[in-house]
């Protein structure tokens, strides 16, 4: 589905990613784990084209998207759920979803009704302004909004951050259901426990470099890596 090859990404003069490579296959949930400031968000932004890498390449469904404009990458059916949710505060929940369907002309797949079936809590607040939604509601809305573009590949940046444990469990179930629907997902997390329940494979990132890659059981068996880079 997507292959990130040896990318170097900068914010202005500061060099953040040092040759990150990773891969997500079809219908896979891959987790990228790492402490705060490790480079997870920067990896996500590089893939989405928001902070294009200066070196290396990103291949999505066989196409080189390394220097493509953001909106074109999105139209190749890549969905982006940023870490701070970035709901449009002046738009209602329903309007947040409506404008997201504009970005993708392929009419099949997700529409408002289907999204509300996955997140029934959103249906009840359809006419509420995005800015007045709770953290959990905003997170659901952010995912729902990304789905409206009928993505094949979803970038989920710390979806559980700041949510109550009960909400986290529910959210994880819903994300699991997305894989059953045929989506491939790259999820960044600090909340290792909940992430590992879902993940097919794991990458551990620290100071802009991939320090580990393997299956969930391999990570669970590797105490050194967990101690050194994840504090668990």
């Amino acid at each position: 589905m997507i292959e990130v090859k040896d990318i170097h990404t900068y914010y202005g003069l500061s060099h953040i990613l040092f040759g990150v490579s990773l891969q997500v296959n079809k219908e896979e949930i891959v987790c990228i784990l790492g402490r705060n400031g490790a480079g997870k968000t920067t990896t996500m932004r590089s893939i989405m084209g928001l902070t294009p890498p200066r070196q290396g390449s990103i291949i999505f469904k066989g196409e080189d998207i390394t220097r493509m404009p953001v909106y074109k990458i999105a139209r190749l059916r890549m969905g982006f759920v940023p870490d701070n949710r970035r709901i449009f505060p002046d738009l209602t929940v329903g309007e947040n979803l409506e404008i997201a369907s504009k970005g993708n002309s392929q009419g099949d797949g997700w529409d408002k009704e289907r999204v509300y079936r996955l997140f029934p809590a959103l249906k009840a607040i359809d006419s509420r302004k995005g800015g007045f939604c709770s953290g959990g509601e905003q997170q659901m809305l952010s995912i729902a909004r990304a789905l409206m573009g009928n993505p094949e590949f979803l970038l989920l940046d710390e979806p559980t951050e700041g949510l109550a444990p009960l909400v986290v469990r529910e959210l994880m179930e819903q994300i699991g259901r997305l894989r059953e629907e045929g989506l491939s997902i790259l999820m960044a997390e600090q909340n290792v426990k909940s992430a590992l329940k879902l993940a097919d494979r794991v990458y551990v990132i620290d100071r802009g470099q991939i320090r580990f890659q393997g299956s969930v059981t391999e990570l669970e068996d590797n105490e050194e890596i967990r101690k050194k880079y994840l504090l668990v």
Binding site: V70, Y71, A74, P89, D90, I99, G149
Partner: protein
């Protein structure tokens, strides 16, 4: 103290009503122009001095269209097409120049928009000459409104404001493009990440804003001398309206335009020597009470 002397100086009710309608008419023109500016500044986040230039172009183009057609129907056609011509021009300006400065520092934005003001001033001199133009009033005569006499043409102005306000409200709240505008105003990057080309949203907003500037210029054309300086005159007031009303807030622009228009026309009545500073006094006072604007600003 001689009260009757003071009372005799006090304008009668008819004069007051007359001034009220004159003030409202001016407020409406100011609103049409400021509404365009507030949408542009709210979504694109640039301080756009060329807005006054597009207003002025609206007036000059309306003059030419009306002259070319002749007769009284000339103005009505001008009202239809002069703002559209202005919009087309603004599309060219946006796609060649403006879109290069959205991500530049504010000083560069000011430099470019101000340079464009000067360049267009010269262009207007070349096309229309240096002498002022004036246009025939399409509906001469006057009517009586609430006991006050008022030029009939002012009815057009009084109707234009509410129509534009209603149109903008409908556009912003009911159309897909309006929703995209509101989303782009708060988070452009996220709009792109949804597969929407925010550059196109910017271009559309700029053209819409300049259409309104051109419409304002067309509406004012029959009531005034059409001169090179008129763009600068309105842009200062329009920027004040936008800032005081809350950047990007159309309703804020409407309320503040009313306050300015009425304040100015009554100011002229009671303290004619200070009439020119009235908008500034009002703006300063309102900004002291609410520094971020009367209504919610998107900046």
């Amino acid at each position: 103290m001689d009260f009757s002397a003071i009372l005799s100086q006090f304008p009668d009710l008819y004069t007051l009503a007359g001034q009220f309608f004159v003030g409202m008419s001016r407020a409406m023109i100011l609103f049409v122009v400021a509404a365009g500016l507030t949408v542009v500044m709210g979504v694109l986040r640039i301080v756009n001095f060329t807005h006054g230039t597009f207003y002025m172009l609206g007036a000059f183009i309306a003059f030419s269209v009306a002259q070319w057609l002749g007769g009284s129907s000339g103005f009505w056609l001008a009202l239809l097409i002069a703002p559209l011509i202005v919009a087309a021009l603004s599309f060219v300006v946006e796609s060649t120049l403006m879109r290069r400065i959205y991500d530049q520092p504010r000083l560069m934005q000011l430099l470019l928009t101000y340079a464009l003001v000067l360049a267009f001033n010269d262009l207007i001199k070349i096309v229309w000459g240096v002498h002022y133009k004036s246009m025939a009033n399409p509906i001469p005569g006057s009517i009586s409104l609430g006991g006050a006499t008022l030029p009939s043409y002012n009815l057009i102005l009084l109707a234009a404001g509410p129509l534009v306000a209603l149109g903008l409200w409908f556009f912003m709240s009911r159309t897909m493009m309006g929703k995209l505008c509101r989303a782009t105003a708060t988070d452009r990057e996220m709009v792109d990440a949804l597969g929407i080309n925010s550059k196109q949203v910017f271009a559309s907003v700029f053209v819409l804003g300049c259409y309104l500037a051109g419409l304002g210029g067309t509406l004012i054309a029959p009531t005034t001398n059409i001169v090179i300086g008129m763009g600068m005159g309105i842009i200062i007031n329009a920027i004040l309206v936008v800032v005081v009303g809350g950047l990007g807030n159309v309703w804020g622009a409407l309320v503040v335009s009313f306050i300015f228009g009425i304040g100015e026309s009554f100011g002229v009545l009671f303290a004619p020597r200070f009439a020119l500073v009235f908008p500034f006094l009002i703006a300063a006072t309102l900004l002291m009470i609410r520094p971020s604007g009367l209504m919610k600003s998107v900046w």
